[in-house]
């Protein structure tokens, strides 16, 4: 379809002529590129002419290749130098000549070791900034919460109840199911290991201690961080990217009061409630495995639960729930406020919100474990 493109030098006494033929277009560029490189190498130093009588087509790529054939110092392409080129193509050639030749900016390339140090330093500074931002935001949340309770700011009851439904009620099935399954798995593991020692009966303590103290609240908090924390970030973030937050401020309203406090209160109420359900269904899951594979009766399981497990384990677990709720709300709302402009930014901050809140939940859980160990509860 396209005519093959060729290029060659013709030398007559004292001057050299570059002869072009065929379609100098993008479609032929692949074959033309080596020929052009060869022609550029053979370029005579003196003044040269261009013969384009046999040229059948020229586009910007062809013009660019022609410039390359002529080497580093392309001529001005006055009509006298270029023969047989129609005016439209000459105009194209002149435009390309004018716009080309601006050298591409060199990308800064660092030595790899310097770059490594730079990235480590950057990450540390980033972490420090994030910690400071989070602390500042927690302060703002607490101050606004204080104003709400002292009556200086309104409590948005409708929004709070709406978020309680979304983060609490709607999350019940998944929290219950997951806790049930993990409870069953823990009981099964315990039974398998303890049977060798003839101590299957301690499976009850294993399930009850782990679920009341740790797993009930930890599983629920991680699920809620992934489910509701990400939703908070995405909601607030998309509002930020559509300038709705600026509109709230321009109307003289307080985005913390309007958006953050209802979400915080909803989580503070619902995370403990969900934790309670999680503990129960974990115990049920463990009990079911006990009854089915360890020849317990349900009455035996409940009886042993009463005998061996003190109420303080329950309170140790429950005490952590509001703290985790506060962490999740603070991190996810802050990440929402940090969104800038694009939809891509919403996605990035949603990911960061989930990762950070799960990270903080686990770190605080470890701190709590040490704290309660020292208290010997």
């Amino acid at each position: 379809m396209a005519q093959k493109a060729t290029v060659s030098w013709i030398r007559t006494n004292g001057s050299a002529t570059l002869t072009l033929a065929g379609d100098w277009t993008l479609a032929n560029a692949r074959d033309l590129a080596p020929a052009v490189a060869g022609a550029a190498a053979m370029r005579p130093g003196d003044h040269c002419l261009i013969d384009a009588h046999q040229l059948t087509a020229l586009d910007t790529t062809g013009a660019l290749l022609l410039l390359r054939a002529l080497g580093d110092s392309p001529p001005s392409f006055s009509a006298a130098d270029v023969q047989g080129l129609n005016p439209a193509n000459l105009a194209l050639l002149q435009l390309v000549t004018a716009r080309h030749g601006q050298a591409a900016p060199a990308r800064p390339v660092h030595a790899s070791f310097v770059r490594l140090l730079e990235r480590i330093g950057g990450a540390i500074v980033d972490a420090w900034h994030q910690a400071r931002e989070l602390l500042g935001f927690v302060g703002m949340m607490l101050a606004t919460l204080g104003k709400v309770f002292s009556g200086h700011r309104r409590l948005r009851l409708t929004a709070t109840v709406f978020h309680m439904e979304q983060t609490g009620l709607d999350a019940v099935p998944i929290v219950v199911l997951l806790s049930f399954l993990v409870g069953a798995v823990v009981a099964f593991l315990g039974a398998t290991v303890l049977r060798d020692f003839g101590a299957e009966v301690f499976t009850v303590e294993l399930v009850s201690y782990s679920f009341l103290r740790e797993f009930g609240v930890l599983l629920t908090a991680i699920l809620i961080a992934g489910r509701s924390g990400s939703a908070f970030t995405a909601q607030i973030g998309s509002m930020k990217s559509r300038e709705e937050l600026d509109a709230i401020q321009a109307l003289g309203l307080d985005p913390i009061e309007l958006l953050v406090i209802p979400r915080l209160l909803a989580l503070l109420v619902m995370l403990p409630a969900l934790t309670f359900l999680g503990m129960l269904s974990g115990l049920v899951g463990g009990g079911l495995v006990g009854v089915m594979s360890l020849d317990f009766t349900p009455a035996m399981f409940i009886g042993r639960l009463h005998e061996t497990t003190e109420l303080r384990h329950f309170w140790v677990g429950m005490a952590k729930a509001p703290v985790f709720a506060f962490l999740i709300a603070a991190v996810s709302c802050l990440e929402g406020f940090k969104v800038e402009g694009s939809a891509e930014s919403v996605g990035r901050h949603t990911t960061a919100s989930v990762v950070q809140s799960i990270f903080l939940v686990i770190v605080f859980d470890a701190l709590f474990a040490i704290f309660f160990m020292e208290l010997q509860v």
């Binding site: 993008l26 479609a27 692949r30 590129a33 586009d59 660019l64 129609n86 439209a88 105009a91 435009l95």
Partner: protein
């Protein structure tokens, strides 16, 4: 004459649910011209553009694009057609994970097996042609202003040397100086590259300063498609409201002397 018609739309019908956007719409786009399409908000200008380039299958009628009926094309033939036009979206639609240079290089890398330095050279040339400063080439779309994103989108649309360029509201959201500069850029590129331009716009200044012909979309079809002086005198009420309104008076006052239109005059013998 027929050889000079690049796009021929006949009896186009587009329906969304119960809402008929286009009905019995006819439109021709001639080789080498800049055709401006104007119409009220919601008149279906962008839908018309999307139907022609194949992003939306029409609900009736036929579209002949570069001599082929594109309404019943297989996927491979469709892709061959796709490479012959360039489309600039309203906000550039640049890929946000790539730099401007990588955005412009992408079609070249995908469709042509060229040496990497040539690919880069071609892409940088296109970036320079659209008037972007070269230090913008290494930036990501999020780091650019709206006008620069439009120019980068134009560079990507031009990179395969298309025969026809579709522009979706190229001057919307630009300041008057930037909009005028963009109009001039389109005009320069059309003259140098022998492009045919299909321009969807709201901007009366663009219509007066840039377009060879204007098509008015109203009441589900093209009311008139002609030189702007002729369009102005059409008795259609929307056209009268639009071209006799206070905003049109200003645009008309600054109308440049129209250049003579020679059909096929800009493409030379080469295409």
């Amino acid at each position: 004459m027929n050889a000079d018609v690049l796009i021929e739309v006949r009896g186009l019908r587009n329906v969304f649910g119960t809402q008929v956007v286009h009905d019995a719409l006819d439109l021709d786009v001639h080789r080498g011209e800049i055709l401006g399409v104007i119409g009220g908000s919601g008149a279906g200008k962008s839908v018309l553009l999307r139907s022609i380039v194949g992003l939306k299958g029409p609900d009736g009628g036929s579209i002949r694009f570069l001599g082929q009926d594109t309404t019943h094309l297989g996927a491979e033939d469709r892709r061959a057609i796709d490479r012959r036009f360039g489309l600039m979206f309203q906000d550039g639609a640049l890929f946000s994970s790539l730099t401007v240079l990588e955005n412009v290089e992408l079609p070249l890398v995908e469709f042509h097996h060229l040496p990497p330095d040539l690919v880069k050279d071609i892409a940088l040339l296109k970036i320079a042609l659209t008037g972007l400063p070269l230090d913008a080439a290494a930036k990501y779309p999020a780091q650019l202003s709206g006008g620069m994103r439009k120019r980068a989108g134009l560079a990507r649309a031009l990179v395969l040397d298309p025969e026809i360029l579709f522009l979706d509201e190229p001057t919307s959201g630009l300041d008057p100086v930037g909009a005028a500069a963009f109009d001039e850029l389109i005009s320069t590129l059309r003259n140098a590259l022998g492009l045919t331009v299909f321009l969807v716009t709201h901007d009366l200044d663009s219509l007066y300063s840039l377009c060879d012909r204007v098509a008015v979309l109203s009441d589900r079809h093209v009311v008139v498609a002609d030189r702007i002086a002729t369009v102005e005198n059409n008795p259609d009420p929307w056209i009268q409201a639009c071209f006799r309104g206070p905003r049109a008076r200003g645009a008309r006052a600054h109308r440049p002397v129209p250049a003579p239109v020679i059909p096929g005059g800009f493409d030379g013998n080469s295409r």
